[in-house]
Symmetry: C2
Subunit: 215 residues, 2 copies
């Protein structure tokens, strides 16, 4: 087990004990811009039969950052070096911050992962070719991943909405954090870089969970 | 009077009437990266006796955006086209977002305007020369400008701290907004672009003022 995973398990055990005493904290992670590819897109960009190479595992079960990076071309600017996250998915999805969207010239559409209807598209450029998306580019809505058991520590279930607070010089309460609870999730709050910067949030920071009736 | 100023006066009158009925809203403004120059820096960068040319007035009394832009050189990257705000000040001050600071490679120090002790520096490049700063680069702490009379509408005074809420898909409560009240201020909440993006705030949006004892 990697050191980071040991640390994570120690943190989770501590958070469970605190929650049992009605002190509710969750660990945060900051998502930089990234790409999820469909099998079709992967083969168009890298060649038939290509397999992504793992760079490092992520906290969510079976998810990993890849060695491979791509270029995205927007109406106003292009951006190089955008990391791919694996494994491949049923649909290609690209997640940018609002700062990125303004730079690239794409309409900033805030969505939950997978909700891609009527989202903007763009062009991906890889080592073996290009891939045009007609949709799939989103600004991610902040959310809390949790297994069903972890969600229950906080009295939460899949589909709930919670508030989380980061204290500091920039104390911020995010009031519309969607809970995604299930077997494919592990306890972690996901923010994009704009949200992280607005509240000085860094990876592994612990944020306070505030139930809406306590605000 | 320009159309934008008429709109602003209408808004202020409405906000005063609402506040009298205990409904508290304030107008927001988003500050992009910008530079305030000292006379010394101005002359080093543009030449002796140079005068800044007004591009457009700002909401704060006697403040204006200038036609002139400069290049800033950080340890990791440089950035062109950073607008100067006038008039000149006693000390040169540059305000970036955290996103900018990471890109430029400068330590992100969150401060109120004017509080420049132990802040990072960098190099400015203008059409007539360069200017080295040993300090003066900050990430601005969000704040509420108001005249003494406007602050009183909300039961606030200079130095107070308030919470403000932006509602929407990204509902966010900023809990540490410093009040700067006095003759040189006019009612306006100032956020940097990271804060604005984290809560989908645009110029002239009205945000709810929440007194800390109501949270």
């Amino acid at each position: 087990m990697m050191e980071s995973e040991v640390k994570r398990q120690v943190t989770l055990r501590m958070l469970k004990e605190y929650a049992a005493k009605s002190v509710y904290y969750v660990p945060a992670a900051v998502s930089n811009r990234h790409i999820h590819l469909s099998q079709d897109a992967l083969e168009a960009l890298f060649g038939k039969g290509y397999t992504l190479e793992q760079f490092k595992p992520l906290s969510q079960p079976n998810q990993y950052a890849c060695e491979e990076k791509l270029t995205f071309v927007g109406p106003k600017n292009k951006m190089d070096g955008i990391r791919i996250l694996g494994p491949v998915r049923s649909a290609t999805q690209i997640e940018f911050s609002l700062t990125d969207a303004f730079y690239l010239g794409i309409p900033p559409v805030v969505r939950m992962s997978g909700d891609l209807k009527d989202t903007p598209g763009g062009k991906l450029i890889g080592p073996n070719g290009e891939y045009m998306l007609t949709s799939g580019v989103i600004i991610s809505q902040c959310h809390l991943h949790a297994s069903k058991e972890e969600a229950a520590w906080y009295g939460l279930k899949d589909g709930d909405s919670v508030c989380v607070r980061k204290r500091g010089l920039r104390t911020v309460l995010f009031e519309n954090v969607l809970v995604r609870a299930g077997d494919t999730h592990s306890l972690e709050l996901h923010f994009d870089t704009d949200e992280a910067n607005s509240a000085l949030i860094e990876n592994s920071d612990l944020l306070e969970v505030v139930r809406s009736w306590e605000i």
